[in-house]
Point group: C2
């Protein structure tokens, strides 16, 4: 438990989200998904867990700290219902609400066929299994960046330490 950080974000999950860089992907899957195997194949090397929450609540926690990639058209994706690309199960509609809210603007999720999703999850940086018991609660998010404006460092914000503010180091 930390101040100002969603309590669903465990030490291992926080570590992974922070270690991810621009373009790395995280798969958020429902409780039925073969997440342990996918997690072992992922960069992290093990599945991460948010057992006590459904898809929307887990996504809310993750997007409270993870910026989505603005360099691509679809930084958020959902698993397509087999043969029904336009079908939106309730679990995905609830997730879409949290994606829009977390990203601060409408960010429609595109659909990924199930077989393709399986491959993508294994290639992800991390795989997070949730407590979601409904089907089709599977999503992929691509990490973006909140970049510091390119202003002179003397105007602040460009450096994270206070060395330069002290003026005693180059």
């Amino acid at each position: 438990m930390l101040r100002n950080i969603d309590p669903l974000l465990t030490p291992d999950l926080l570590h992974a989200l922070c270690a991810m860089g621009h373009g790395d992907e995280i798969a958020v899957v429902d409780a039925h998904y073969p997440a342990d195997a996918a997690g072992r194949a992922s960069s992290v090397g093990k599945a991460l867990r948010i057992d006590g929450a459904d898809s929307a609540r887990a996504i809310k926690a993750i997007l409270s700290v993870l910026p989505l990639d603005s360099f691509v058209e679809s930084p958020a994706q959902r698993m397509m219902v087999d043969g029904q690309p336009d079908e939106w199960p309730h679990v995905q509609r609830e997730a879409q609400h949290e994606v829009d809210r977390g990203n601060g603007k409408p960010t429609p999720m595109t659909a990924v066929p199930r077989k393709t999703y399986y491959e993508r999850a294994r290639q992800a940086y991390a795989v997070v299994i949730t407590g979601e018991t409904r089907g089709w609660g599977c999503f992929i998010f691509k990490k973006g960046l909140d970049v510091t404006p390119d202003v002179p460092s003397s105007e602040g914000r460009a450096h994270i330490s206070s060395y330069l503010a002290r003026g005693d180091l180059p």
Copy 2:
């Protein structure tokens, strides 16, 4: 790098701060301290690093997420200058400013004799070495808790998942 989290907090440091529980201690030491040895003896088992910042900046980052313990009289402590318990080096005055600000109220650091500090650091949950090059930049913080009010769960805030809000589980 994460949204809404100080960029000085690395994946390993975030992991440690989040994994700490009520009463666990973290030692924040200057660049001269035998931190590697102390870190190996700590619960984490290795020293954590905030190389690019001085003491005050590092403390600001840590206290942006770490609550201080309200159960004890001195949740924040500083290394005492040998034989001069009332001496406050600049590095410690700057740190005191960040402690007060981070904890939201005046929280005077008490002084720990140097030899005692060495023992305390080795028994800490974590040891963080900073880029502080001045001497006496050594501190100990005891983790507290922002506890959820004891209200009926139906009024919210007492549970972190949305299972109960859905009403379909006990």
